[in-house]
């Protein structure tokens, strides 16, 4: 029987698949548990104050950069959507931005250093940092928004056209309301990634701050930068504990944002499909 012959390789493949699923889960959960154990035990008033300050800076930077990147990324995606599938240049632009979304974040740091900190001489402060992070996340927001907008089926657009809607009216009343959950969750994921990335900010000036004056107030010394400085900076008492606690908080924040994105995305499809 052919079924029996196949079953050996079938079984091997099944084990392989199971391993592929289980290994990352095991690695991730052991990481979570160890960071949580170490970080949680280190939490005392002093550590909380240090981590809290860095977290506050992270939130400022995150909000400011999202405020800059969301209008840019979402706006560009909606603007392009109007041209529909007809424009070849829209496709080219899509491909270009997709490449931008894949550029390593440290490169954005160099760009930010050159463009914002030096050329615009806005200094290495919060604004330069936020502009740099905005550049980093806006392609990701654009790509996520384009996907969400394109996920709206052609039959919905045709229905809008057949009712005498213009392209813009259809985008505004039909396509956008259906795409919003996808756009919001994609934006949250992009911002979560930016919150966790230290590289561009280190390039932008956080590195000097981290090495020279690990505890000095600096708007770019956000949580991941602080963690870096606690680990890489001059060995001092409490730095290890701060790093562990900071990592724990950063992980909770990022996982929380990912969870939120999942909930928003799930909500958009779940109940409706159940009702249909």
């Amino acid at each position: 029987m052919s079924g029996r012959k196949l079953s050996a390789s079938d079984r091997a493949l099944r084990w392989l698949c199971a391993a592929a699923v289980l290994v990352p889960i095991a690695v991730l959960s052991s990481l979570l548990v160890s960071v949580a154990l170490v970080g949680f035990t280190q939490l005392d008033a002093e550590v909380l104050a240090a981590v809290g300050g860095a977290l506050r800076d992270s939130v400022y930077l995150g909000l400011l950069s999202a405020g800059l990147a969301v209008p840019l990324g979402v706006g560009a995606a909606i603007g392009l959507e109007q041209y529909g599938a007809r424009a070849t240049w829209a496709e080219l632009l899509d491909a270009k931005v997709a490449v931008l979304a894949g550029v390593p974040s440290v490169i954005y740091g160099l760009l930010g250093l050159e463009l914002f900190a030096r050329a615009l001489s806005s200094g290495r402060g919060l604004l330069a940092g936020a502009l740099t992070i905005a550049l980093l996340v806006s392609p990701m927001i654009f790509v996520a928004s384009r996907e969400a907008l394109r996920g709206v089926s052609a039959s919905q657009r045709e229905a809008g056209l057949a009712l005498g809607g213009t392209r813009w009216q259809i985008v505004r009343h039909v396509v956008l309301p259906m795409a919003i959950p996808g756009i919001v969750s994609g934006t949250i994921l992009a911002v979560a990634r930016a919150l966790g990335s230290a590289a561009p900010l280190l390039v932008l000036g956080g590195f000097a701050a981290a090495r020279v004056a690990p505890e000095a107030a600096d708007p770019l010394a956000v949580l991941p930068v602080r963690i870096f400085s606690w680990i890489a900076g001059p060995a001092r008492e409490g730095a290890g504990g701060n790093a562990a606690a900071g990592s724990f908080v950063l992980m909770v924040v990022c996982l929380g944002l990912h969870g939120l994105a999942l909930v928003i995305r799930g909500r958009s499809t779940g109940p409706r499909e159940a009702e249909a």
């Binding site: 039959s155 005498g164 009216q169 009343h173 309301p177």
Partner: protein, 256 residues
């Protein structure tokens, strides 16, 4: 039928997807009142034909057409004709029911108005919704749940909601592209009942691959094959005494 009575006239209508021709040189006069059925096997160009009438065909990438289409004697390809305004006069119902998921039943009915003019006043909206849902035989079923999402209905009700949405714009012509192909027989029968009402008020052109349905609902029928109009006559004639051998073969189920 005299030419003056024709609501829709095409002369030398041809259409392509890229380099591939889908319609060749179609000349047809469609009567203002009653139901005209477009029949033929899959891929014969019947859907493309009605999609040319509301200029939806040209919205597909790589699609183009040539020849003339006249509605009430006015050429709809002319530069002075706005395709968006044209589509408000020529409604379309699609193969798959496609109510807008992000809108309530009420807003689905008003969608055409919301798209074009913004939301009508509460009272005016109520009036339009009731009239359109009555015409689509949905009013008694749905009057108490107008706030529910349009996609919460059965697929037959969804399709009738799409018909109501089309009628709310008070079109002159209603194009239907195999409106029953995704529905069960009971839901299909309800749509056919509806067609008997609609024929009094609108020019209805229905594409169907269902011979019995064409025979039941239409006054006139056009048989398309490989992008050509083979025969166009009273439905009775087409089904009982077709002139062309190919029509007869198709009707009697020898192919297709």
């Amino acid at each position: 039928m005299s030419e003056a009575e024709a609501k829709i006239r095409t002369r030398g209508l041809s259409a392509w997807f890229g380099a591939r021709p889908v319609l060749r040189d179609i000349d047809i006069d469609i009567d203002a009142r009653g139901v005209t059925a477009i029949i033929g096997p899959s891929g014969c160009g019947k859907s493309t034909f009605i999609r040319c009438i509301n200029r939806l065909h040209e919205m597909t990438r790589g699609a183009r057409m040539s020849g003339k289409i006249l509605v009430d004697g006015v050429e709809i390809q002319g530069p002075e004709v706005d395709p968006v305004a044209l589509r408000r006069r020529i409604g379309m119902v699609f193969r798959e029911p496609n109510p807008f998921p992000a809108m309530s039943i009420r807003d689905n009915v008003l969608a055409g108005l919301i798209l074009n003019h913004g939301r009508p006043s509460r009272a005016r909206g109520d009036e339009i919704v009731e009239a359109a849902l009555r015409q689509a035989a949905l009013w008694t079923d749905l009057r108490d749940r107008l706030g529910a999402p349009g996609t919460s209905l059965s697929s037959g009700q969804q399709q009738r909601l799409c018909i109501a949405r089309t009628l709310a714009l008070e079109p002159e012509i209603v194009l239907m592209d195999e409106p029953c192909s995704a529905l069960d027989p009971v839901a299909s029968a309800k749509i056919e009942d509806l067609l008997h009402e609609l024929r009094e008020r609108y020019t209805v052109v229905i594409v169907t691959h269902n011979m019995q349905q064409a025979a039941r609902v239409s006054e006139r029928a056009a048989f398309f094959l490989d992008g050509e109009l083979i025969e166009y006559a009273d439905t009775d004639t087409i089904f009982t005494a077709p002139l062309d051998k190919r029509t007869e073969d198709y009707i009697t189920g020898k192919f297709g």
